[in-house]
């Protein structure tokens, strides 16, 4: 069984640009969450989607948006990139909500220059 897959693995963008990160959950998992991890810190919650509906949003500006598709895959979009958006972006899937364990992908390393 394939785990959670994220693409791309690495990305370099210029300030002001837009970026789209993609995530495919484990087959059968309906919940996808996104986290941002800045170097040296723990992951910070950005969004959760369950059954294609937004279930939660962390303390991130409106430049961050996401969606979940009918096949439960998900995209995270960030507009007007800032240097401070440089981080590892992690996607996690779980069967239902986060009372069950979350399975993380390997992340997308975004560098904004």
């Amino acid at each position: 069984d394939a785990g959670v897959t994220q693409s791309p693995t690495h990305l370099i963008k210029t300030r002001g640009q837009h970026v789209t990160l993609r995530c495919s959950p484990i087959s059968g998992h309906k919940s996808v969450s996104w986290y941002q991890q800045v170097l040296g810190q723990g992951p910070q919650f950005i969004f959760q989607y369950y059954e294609k509906e937004e279930r939660g949003r962390g303390n991130f500006p409106d430049r961050f948006s996401a969606r979940q598709f009918p096949n439960y895959s998900s995209e995270l979009n960030v507009n007007a990139l800032l240097l401070g958006d440089s981080a590892l972006y992690l996607c996690a899937s779980s069967l239902r909500d986060t009372n069950t364990e979350a399975f993380f992908g390997q992340g997308t390393r975004l560098t904004v220059v």
Partner: protein, 113 residues
């Protein structure tokens, strides 16, 4: 903001020794989970303990939870070089509709061969 805070921030031990790391949190929780992260990659779920449980074991891992003190500890017995990683506690908060994991800042464990 961080819900959980791990202590110590860094720990260096010899192979075969036990490693203990602690986590404190601020608000009532539904459950607490421990994750491992190798070299800035994806997180791996280690163990979940529910708020009505006090202790849980999984292989060489032992987790305790004290809800009165709002704290948890992770014990790794007979450590191995392969245990070198960052360890994070994560909580699912009860009093919000948002079902997201809130991570601490992590403990960086170095196991010397």
């Amino acid at each position: 903001s961080q819900q959980g805070e791990e202590d110590p921030q860094a720990l260096s031990i010899q192979e075969g020794e036990n490693a203990t790391m602690n986590c404190s949190y601020k608000t009532s929780i539904n459950n607490l989970q421990w994750y491992r992260q190798n070299s800035g990659r994806g997180l791996v779920h280690l163990i979940l303990i529910r708020s009505n449980e006090r202790e849980k074991h999984s292989g060489r891992l032992r987790v305790t939870l004290d809800t009165s003190k709002k704290s948890s500890s992770l014990l790794i017995t007979a450590s191995r070089a392969a245990d070198t990683a960052s360890y994070f506690c994560a909580t699912v908060i009860m009093d919000t509709g948002r079902r997201a994991l809130t991570f601490g800042s992590g403990t960086r464990l170095q196991v010397q061969p």
